[in-house]
Symmetry: C2
Subunit: 299 residues, 2 copies
């Protein structure tokens, strides 16, 4: 069904995603405020979008991959923004991770100008984006979801989560659980280390039983080596925890443990650890406890 895909936002995630759409044989017009990124994508067969307006006007399916809620709101709703320029009957897909509340608001505005819209945030990180193995959580009209199937399959595995905002909600659930599984590992390792047990034994025993988590499988051994190279930067997870807090407030949904995780991620930002992997939350627990689980080989 797809004629022209417009792709706005060619960052760490957006660039490899756009590339995978080109690899899948789709015609794509790319745009980013940094024009060098568009140049690079043209090497892979993309057409150049000269402006947000230009891309929005030419797209049958428009994809946005932007940093945060205000960027998405502004791109779609501002004067001269996306929704003023899109063809009726075309489809908008926002794949940024933003507030579910904002996602619903933008989708409603899109519906009013005859553009069905999906929220479709992803998990799987840069590696998942490069390898077309993203988990894609999709909210919006189910018939629009079905129309976008070809696009999603070129990027990873989509799951339909419900009406507008549902994709962002499931992404938020994911970020709650990942953050708290990270905190769980951090407190277990610091406690065990302070009591004098080798952290490798703790990771080995816990990973083999009911305490197992994917987070510990992937990051436990790296934490012990002091390797906090991202992965997923703590500042981005902190952004997501801010979205979760705002959304939880609007839902009247108290989240006591998530609020502790939020504060721990705030400590990471205060200490300049925003560009470390989010598993560096163990450094906060170490700071509290005046101890250090990991070696100094990485720092």
């Amino acid at each position: 069904m797809t004629n022209t895909i417009g792709f706005i936002g060619l960052g760490i995630m957006g660039f490899p995603m756009a590339k995978n759409l080109l690899t899948a044989g789709l015609h794509l017009v790319g745009y980013d405020i940094v024009s060098e990124k568009v140049d690079r994508l043209m090497d892979h067969g993309a057409s150049r979008g000269t402006s947000l307006r230009d891309v929005a006007e030419s797209a049958d399916v428009l994809i946005t991959m932007l940093p945060d809620s205000p960027d998405v709101e502004n791109a779609y709703l501002a004067n001269g923004g996306i929704l003023e320029c899109m063809k009726p009957g075309s489809v908008a897909i926002d794949m940024s991770t933003i507030s579910p509340v904002v996602a619903v608001r933008v989708a409603e505005a899109a519906g009013k100008v005859g553009v069905p819209m999906l929220d479709a945030p992803v998990s799987g990180g840069e590696t998942g984006a490069i390898n077309a193995k993203l988990t894609i959580m999709v909210g919006g009209p189910i018939e629009t979801y079905q129309r976008a199937d070809e696009v999603f399959r070129a990027l990873g595995s989509p799951t339909y989560c419900g009406p507008s905002g549902s994709g962002q909600t499931v992404k938020a659930c994911n970020q709650i659980q990942v953050a708290l599984n990270m905190v769980a590992m951090a407190e277990a390792l610091v406690f065990g280390h302070k009591a004098g047990v080798d952290p490798e034994i703790i990771v080995s025993v816990l990973s083999g039983g009911y305490a197992q988590s994917r987070v510990m499988d992937v990051r436990g051994p790296r934490i012990i080596k002091g390797d906090f190279a991202p992965g997923f930067r703590s500042k981005l997870h902190f952004k997501d925890l801010n979205i979760i807090r705002e959304t939880a407030r609007s839902l009247a949904c108290p989240l006591p443990a998530t609020s502790i995780a939020y504060e721990m991620f705030a400590v990471m930002q205060a200490h300049g650890w925003g560009d470390l992997d989010h598993s560096a939350v163990i450094k906060v627990v170490e700071l509290l406890s005046d101890t250090q689980v990991h070696s100094n080989t990485h720092g």
Copy 2:
């Protein structure tokens, strides 16, 4: 190396463990303050221990499986207790889950009367005990651990964790991580439910990615059905969280998220949910949020 095993404490865990030692062909003298439990074990080939003293005197390897720290302290250290009666050169193994601090104290007292001692708490629950698939976390002298290998292999998979108390420490780490992974799942599901998303979709998407945990694999689908049959009773995990708090205090080890988990488990006890599975911590988050994720089919 084993001649006679003494086994004290034939409860939900101890009984099937003693039975597995008998199945492995070991000679075993069993004792419990409830004499009917000893009768039942005799049907499986055990000899009857008539008292704590009787079992301690006859054992080459003495195993205790008791409810809590004070029970273990009392059984070993009281006048007329285990340590007054054991043969020099015999071995004591406490497989109860108790405070690492108490484990060290009892092991030191045992060492003074010529009885090397291991702390060897288990995870895997009643099912693991019945199927001889327990994870066994062992602290104490390594040569004593090697002497006890035959016994441990008849019960599950042992890991040597370090000197006295290390087994209890790793068990405590395990209980921290399991409790917080449970809380993580609870907050994610309640948040998503309040935002209007089907919890089955949340479990399905999160289980397939970085948020995956064994706790969600096993309990996510049951929570959605409202099935909180234990498994592991919340009152026992609450006991373990008390041990963790006391130990953390003695180590000067702040654990902010674990303290939240502790309070949530305290709420479960206040509401009479002590005999539900520990995954029922979601009922606390539901209570806070005035919502209900699970159906009423189980109640």
